[in-house]
């Protein structure tokens, strides 16, 4: 556990550095937004990026407020407002897609540590509340009226060997992606049996339709962008 959070910190500082030298935060958020939209499972919450953008948005809100009371050119003001709205849209859309995924896979996310640690504090609270409410609702409306062996919220019946009523994201989904650098040796493990050993190469900038599972790690490390 300790080592993984250490790695996360390291990755965060790397991200900060990249952000400083290359692109604006809006550009980075756009990338995160596209990745999140295209990936079947929930990705790591962009803690640093979102908190930085929140600050910038608040700052801009104040600026717009100050300017609207003083006698600033209305055109100037409306351009600031547009930029503000665009950024806000992106941030809201990003958070909303994550909430949709949480609502869909809440039980799965809750019991999988790896996914659980990708959520923000607020998202974790939301998940807990969501699970509680859904449980209560299902129990009151359906489960309590079923025979005792069918009352689990996670299993079809007591004879089920594992939690078979928990929806999980389909990692076999084919996604569209683009690599930033020349990548080689991508293993398409889910290919037909005789292709299993075949390794795949990816040129930078070329679009590929590929099974999410085989590039999962590369998406997480930021080498490949989904779109």
């Amino acid at each position: 556990m300790a080592s993984s959070s250490g790695m996360e910190e390291e990755r965060d500082s790397m991200e900060d550095y990249e952000a400083l030298i290359s692109t604006t935060d809006v550009e980075l958020l756009k990338r995160a937004w596209r990745n999140e939209k295209a990936a079947p499972e929930i990705l790591r919450f962009e803690f640093q990026l979102v908190s930085r953008l929140r600050e910038q948005i608040e700052l801009m809100e104040d600026t717009i407020h100050d300017k609207s009371t003083s006698s600033t050119d209305p055109l100037f003001l409306s351009l600031f407002q547009m930029d503000f709205d665009r950024t806000l849209f992106l941030l809201r859309s990003y958070l909303r897609i994550r909430i949709q995924k949480i609502e869909k896979y809440m039980f799965h996310i809750r019991k999988t540590d790896e996914l659980w640690n990708r959520l923000s504090k607020e998202e974790k609270e939301f998940t807990e509340v969501c699970i509680e409410d859904l449980k209560q609702h299902l129990e009151e409306s359906v489960l309590s009226k079923l025979p005792a062996t069918y009352q689990s919220i996670l299993r079809q019946s007591v004879t089920s060997e594992k939690d078979d009523m928990v929806p999980e994201p389909e990692l076999d989904t084919f996604v569209l992606c683009r690599s930033k650098e020349y990548l080689t040796g991508i293993q398409l493990e889910d290919g037909p049996v005789d292709d299993r050993s075949k390794l795949f190469e990816m040129e930078p900038g070329v679009l590929h339709f590929i099974c999410y599972k085989s590039i999962k790690a590369l998406v997480e490390s930021g080498k490949i962008d989904l779109l």
């Binding site: 604006t24 935060d25 809006v26 550009e27 756009k30 596209r34 939209k37 295209a38 990936a39 079947p40 953008l53 910038q56 948005i57 801009m60 050119d73 055109l75 100037f76 409306s78 351009l79 600031f80 547009m82 930029d83 503000f84 665009r86 950024t87 849209f89 897609i97 949709q100 995924k101 609502e103 869909k104 809440m106 969501c130 859904l134 009523m165 929806p167 076999d172 989904t173 084919f174 996604v175 569209l176 398409l188 889910d190 290919g191 037909p192 049996v193 292709d195 795949f200 070329v206 679009l207 590929h208 339709f209 590929i210 099974c211 779109l227």
Partner: protein, 245 residues
């Protein structure tokens, strides 16, 4: 369970693609004087009358709407350049790399908001329309080459809008192939034969699906729900669990 609607969060709507394209940078010639804009999405300006400066498309359009600037269409949007591209597209099966990723959206936005800044707009508009058609036809022919061995598809130079149109189909077709090729799913002829006779061995199964592909690749069905059709045909939901993995 909750959230089991047909909503597909992975798809970008046309508006969202336009939103992304609005961040592309264009040249504008302002006719007002305005100080630099320090926005969240970057710093632009200062703006001086008659001096060419760069701005994202959304900013350019906002100024244009208020009559504060004229937009210089990008180089590739000239009628000579597009004629060349169309020629190249017609001559080769490859998709030309001369157009930007968001060419459909950018041209559409400029046609709508800055028609007076585009030289020979009717010609440019019809050229872009032709290029789209030629390219789309190529994509359709390429798709026919799919079969059960297809585990990844490489698409060179396809634009955002084109990709978005074929995405639901390609994604599901590949997923269906993968599913039906998986070792756990080796068809048991006796059980399969009474339901879908052509799933018994490999060869006819592939052609069977290709036929369906052609059918649902017709333009109108790409936008309708019938994209689901090949999928439901090949998903045997009543099969015993072991077959469904």
């Amino acid at each position: 369970m909750a959230g089991q609607s047909n909503h597909e969060p992975s798809l970008f709507s046309a508006e969202e693609l336009e939103f992304i394209a609005e961040d592309e940078i264009v040249d504008i010639v302002p006719n007002i004087k305005m100080g630099p804009l320090n926005l969240i999405s970057g710093d632009f300006g200062p703006f001086t009358p008659q001096i060419v400066t760069q701005a994202p498309l959304w900013l350019a359009i906002a100024l244009k709407k208020r009559g504060k600037c004229s937009i210089c269409p990008p180089q590739w949007m000239s009628d000579e350049k597009l004629t060349q591209v169309l020629e190249a597209e017609r001559q080769s099966q490859e998709i030309s790399d001369q157009l930007p990723f968001h060419y459909v959206e950018i041209s559409r936005l400029l046609f709508d908001h800055a028609p007076d800044n585009i030289h020979e707009i009717y010609k440019v508009r019809s050229l872009i329309e032709d290029i789209r058609n030629v390219r789309f036809h190529k994509v359709q022919t390429d798709l026919e080459a799919f079969n059960g061995r297809t585990i990844a598809v490489k698409i060179k130079n396809l634009s955002a809008m084109e990709v978005n149109i074929v995405r639901p189909f390609i994604g599901r077709a590949l997923q269906a192939f993968l599913k039906h090729d998986s070792p756990e799913l080796i068809p048991d002829p006796e059980r399969v034969s009474d339901r879908t006779p052509h799933v018994v061995n490999n060869a006819p199964r592939v052609t069977g699906l290709t036929k369906v592909c052609k059918k649902c690749l017709s333009m109108e069905s790409l936008y309708s729900t019938s994209v689901d059709e090949p999928y439901t045909v090949h998903t045997h939901s009543n099969f015993p669990k072991t077959l469904n993995r």
